[in-house]
Symmetry: C2
Subunit: 248 residues, 2 copies
């Protein structure tokens, strides 16, 4: 059976994350339900590039699945229009039968939106995290530079993860103000540990508010100790923007 | 009793508009409920600068109300934190007892967000309208210029309105692309008729998609005929951004 790669966007607000689990509605279960309907009741299993947590959004999550021969654009259209309104299917293409959305991913980009308005902007409440106290953007911009390059990011990994190798390479790391009281954090790298982006943001916020200094960032990275880093920032600000593969 | 002016922002998604009515939850009813709680159970009536429809958002709706003597910032904080999460109170100030949010308003600014991505961006679905077909931005930008100045906007007024004088002056009218497949329409004027902004947007979309031409815009305005204009664009793209008063 041919293998297809699809790029999907979703509003994670009403899902218990991407990956199927025993309890709760997930993006994976929702897409599989639609595929099963399109496939005359035959189950289709999808594989994502990685999980996203409850409340986390995606603009460029990549999945793959095996499905009978079909025109890729027709399949995209059917999957897009028949999925729930909070899921959009941006593209579908036929790929090699050896393609794997997770194992072959070589680069991911995440954005994190932080509403720094006082009070919080009501129509951003599910789409940006809110921070009410003053933040020193220049200090955060200085600190975020230390994230670039190859490091063991154990200090920025949720405890209890089974992943052994915690070395990742970060190609892009920035914090920018994007008008009307909003900050955007951008991280692009060869991979990210569980909750890594949210812990990086939580740590940068502690640098912005003066509880830590920019030069604490390299010390925290070197400590390999989760307790040295800041808290995990809220999920609603996080977006998986893009996943890249060797062929691209 | 002192009179207060407040600037409120709200996500209109879950409300039947701003103004109280017999059926359905409204922003006015929600704010009055909070004020009553703060005022030891005594009813407080608020007056808005104008109504907004179901699904329409506000960043700068202005209200006034009479309330016992209180520090304005403390009142703002209490009202903001005790209101529902989809309502934010941006400012509260004491004003002259003759101030009226509706009768004294001299200028309003509306923004309209249109998602022109294919497919629709899931996390914008309640915060921007979606249009799936190609739009000629240059033609829309040419047409929107005709809206500037003083005109009888009867052609852009929902039928059945009781307002007699349909002459309004528009100071600013523009359509701009703001990255990632989104258009923003901006209208600033001395006042707007019922559904006027949404009918203007619906007409501009018909010019953008080629069903009408830019030079049809002055003819539609001159016709004073609602049937000549385009359809009323969906509510979720509309934001009441600012209301101005003579003192400002």
């Amino acid at each position: 059976m041919p293998r297809y790669k699809a790029v999907v966007a979703y509003d994670g607000t009403n899902y218990c994350g991407f990956q199927s689990q025993e309890n709760g509605n997930t993006v994976q279960a929702e897409i599989e339900k639609t595929l099963k309907k399109l496939n005359n009741g035959q189950q289709v299993t999808i594989h994502g590039s990685g999980r996203t947590d409850s409340g986390v959004h995606a603009w460029g999550q990549v999945i793959h699945f095996d499905y009978p021969e079909r025109d890729a654009e027709k399949l995209r259209h059917a999957l897009d229009t028949q999925s729930a309104a909070d899921i959009a299917v941006r593209s579908v293409e036929k790929v090699a039968e050896t393609f794997h959305a997770r194992y072959e991913a070589v680069e991911k980009t995440y954005h994190y939106h932080l509403d720094i308005g006082k009070p919080r902007t009501p129509f951003k409440r599910f789409y940006a995290a809110h921070y009410r106290h003053p933040l020193d953007l220049v200090k955060m911009q200085e600190a975020v530079q230390y994230v670039l390059g190859t490091h063991d990011f154990s200090a920025f990994c949720s405890t209890g993860t089974s992943v052994e190798n915690k070395v990742r390479t970060i190609y892009e790391a920035s914090v920018t103000e994007i008008g009307d009281n909003e900050l955007i954090f951008i991280f692009r790298g060869d991979g990210f540990l569980y909750k890594m982006v949210r812990i990086l943001v939580g740590t940068l916020i502690k640098i912005g508010n003066g509880q830590l200094e920019p030069h604490d960032m390299p010390k925290i990275i070197a400590s390999l100790d989760r307790n040295q880093a800041g808290p995990t920032a809220h999920p609603e600000g996080l977006y998986l923007m893009e996943v890249k593969y060797p062929s691209e």
